[in-house]
């Protein structure tokens, strides 16, 4: 029952499959940084770093915000564990609700049967 998170996990793993991108995440875990700063630190062109940050951003691992002419990057709100845990509790909530709904549905069905008789 892990298929519920699969498309997103695929994106996350794809994002993490690259050493530079992992380095960027480690860097951002210490402090936020602009794309220019990241490009310099990793000896890359601005365009190259923008692409890496874009991949991380789409996977939810990094958030960026443009203030003036500077795009600042920081770690995304979602790590894998949080998302999986959140989906798990969301599913438990609905499982509990639907189990209770099942009981009510049975009551209503019994009532209909009795009315028919």
């Amino acid at each position: 029952m892990v298929q519920f998170a699969a498309p997103r996990l695929d994106m996350t793993f794809a994002a993490l499959s690259d050493a530079t991108r992992r380095g960027v995440l480690e860097q951002l875990a210490r402090a936020e940084a602009s794309i220019t700063e990241l490009a310099e630190r990793f000896h890359m062109t601005l365009t190259g770093m923008k692409k890496h940050v874009g991949v991380l951003e789409r996977a939810g691992l990094v958030r960026t915000e443009k203030i003036g002419r500077v795009r600042t990057c920081r770690l995304g709100m979602l790590g894998l564990h949080e998302e999986a845990a959140w989906i798990g509790s969301y599913q438990r909530l609905w499982d509990t609700r639907f189990d209770a709904l099942d009981a009510i549905v049975e009551e209503l069905k019994a009532r209909e049967t009795n009315n028919v008789r």
């Binding site: 498309p7 979602l78 894998l80 564990h81 609700r97 639907f98 709904l101 549905v105 209503l108």
Partner: protein, 163 residues
């Protein structure tokens, strides 16, 4: 690695896409019965707020028809109640209910559909958020969770990089 997100035994399936959460489950009953359990407040509150959740329902008003509104209040103290409210955008008896969630300006549009086949009904519930960010926020809740999340992310990065 994401074992805490797994769920076994239940027949409830949950999927997330960028802006939407979708829950599906099959019920052994015709659609009209599910619609009744979803649209009558005295039935709805019995399952929407399961006793095991430990949350006290203070009040529930529901006018389940297109253009009608609803309001649910939770909590122990009515003065500090947490309220959820909105409007029914579309109600097709025994088929579908669509409503807004207006307690937040980034609230989702909720849709439930009942698809009957051979006396059984496939229930599909979805929450469609205006943006991916709004759904992410709903995931994360308050920002208070951040430091711990960053710790966990760092642990994960260490695992993945083998550092």
């Amino acid at each position: 690695m994401y074992a805490e997100g797994e769920q076994t035994g239940g027949r409830t399936k949950v999927e997330r896409t960028e802006r939407e959460m979708v829950v599906t489950r099959s019920f052994d009953a015709p659609a009209r019965i599910l619609f009744e359990a979803w649209s009558k407040p005295e039935l709805f509150t019995r399952w929407w707020v399961p006793k095991s959740a430990g949350i006290n329902l203070l009040s529930c008003e529901m006018d389940v028809r297109t253009g009608g509104s609803y309001r649910l209040a939770f909590g122990d103290d009515p003065a500090k109640a947490m309220t959820f409210f909105g409007k029914y955008v579309e109600v097709v008896p025994n088929e579908r209910i669509v409503w807004t969630n207006e307690e937040s300006d980034q609230g989702a549009i909720s849709t439930v559909t009942f698809e009957e086949r051979d006396g059984k009904t496939l229930l599909r519930f979805s929450e469609l958020y205006p943006t991916k960010e709004a759904l992410d926020e709903a995931f994360v809740g308050m920002e208070g969770g951040m430091p711990e999340q960053l710790d966990q992310l760092e642990v994960l990065l260490v695992e993945l990089t083998g550092a």
